[in-house]
């Protein structure tokens, strides 16, 4: 694989030509915020939190899907990007019903962390207060659609790691919703193996373990990363 040289935030870096900007940046200790991205799962490019300015005219590109290119000039932390990221997070908060104070994932939530990192401490937009459901039919897990940011991490973890493809996205736009099988109660799903990978992949408190109360839930994300490396690279990092 050929190597390419590019600059990220003024720093000269080399990367393999098949790497994404995100991979190259992280390998060089340059952080880029992400939400829908999980290393080792297929790229989705849905949340746009990873936007960077790349190429002529500072074109906005999602770092998690765009590949590096020779001579590329990438900026990851400009005033414009900081403003956009804040707005993206505001939109996510306004679109669902995210009430950290009563959430099982409080303190263990990637959405909350991203908002804190971006300095998004209040909303300049109106909340939409959508009416969404909570499904508690599964005996081990629940899904609270109020907290779902539609990142499809559960869908990809279930399809690509477990192979069951219990989850998918239904509807479109503001009516989008993650579903199990034919949009039936999760507990009645014929394909679900109760493995919990969707729960480990979920960045928010949308998919939660039953019995966890406010702020006490840990997603066990390390287990997911362990599985991804074991499966993908045949490395068992115990």
């Amino acid at each position: 694989m050929t190597a390419v040289t590019l600059t990220i935030d003024g720093k000269l870096v080399t990367a393999r030509a098949d790497e994404t900007i995100l991979q190259a940046a992280r390998a060089n200790g340059i952080p880029i915020p992400t939400l829908c991205h999980v290393d080792g799962l297929s790229a989705h490019g849905g949340c746009r939190l990873c936007l960077v300015e790349a190429g002529p005219g500072g074109r906005l590109q999602p770092a998690c899907v765009i590949k590096v290119a020779e001579g590329q000039d990438v900026r990851t932390d400009t005033a414009k990007l900081r403003e956009y990221r804040k707005l993206i997070l505001e939109l996510l908060f306004a679109e669902g019903n995210h009430v950290c104070a009563v959430c099982v994932a409080n303190g263990n939530c990637e959405l909350q962390d991203a908002a804190a990192a971006a300095g998004m401490d209040h909303l300049t937009l109106d909340y939409t207060h959508p009416r969404r459901e909570v499904d508690l039919s599964h005996d081990r897990f629940g899904v609270d659609h109020n907290r779902c940011i539609l990142c499809t991490r559960c869908v990809r973890a279930c399809d690509e790691l477990e192979g069951a493809h219990t989850w998918d996205m239904s509807g479109r736009g503001a009516n989008s919703k993650v579903i199990t099988d034919l949009n039936q109660p999760w507990g009645e799903s014929a394909t679900c193996t109760s493995c919990g990978k969707c729960f480990m992949a979920c960045p928010t408190g949308a998919i939660f373990r039953k019995g966890a109360t406010v702020a006490e839930m840990d997603h066990g994300r390390a287990k997911l990363d362990f599985l991804i490396t074991a499966r993908g690279r045949k490395q068992w990092n115990v």
Partner: protein, 174 residues
Amino acid sequence: MPTAPPAAEARPVPHPSGDKRFKLLEVAMKKHQFRPDALIEVLHAAQQLFGYLELDLLLFVARHLKLPPSRVYGVATFYHFFALKPRGRHTCVVCTGTACYVKGADGLLAALRREAGVGPGETTPDDNLSVLTARCIGACGIAPAVVLDGTVKGHVTADALAAEMKGWVPGGTG
């Protein structure tokens, strides 16, 4: 004549209802060699036959194309073209396939408009009745055919249909 698909391994069983339209849908799927990537075409065919896509029907499609049910449901709900529910309490699907058309399907649609005030794809304001059309429901021998709440009726006349509608759209618009 629809021929039985080859008795391959684990062939999904025919739909237990015995509804002929499932057989026709199977023929449509066979044309695409039951390829998973023909999902959208197959959903089109299913909707043409049934007027809308019931869960039962989506599962039938998922099994035959060997796709995860959630994927089939996701695709069916992504496109506005596909309807998962008849919008009214009752449905009247008027077949507008060639045979039924020749035998006066448009007269039936006109009668529905007169009696209930709605046309194809529409639902009465009181949600009592949705009128849908389908292209050939496999009942050409008894054309013109309609499907009233899932029951196929043949040799339907405009008057008979209008009478049938009296019970469904109490006030009517007549």
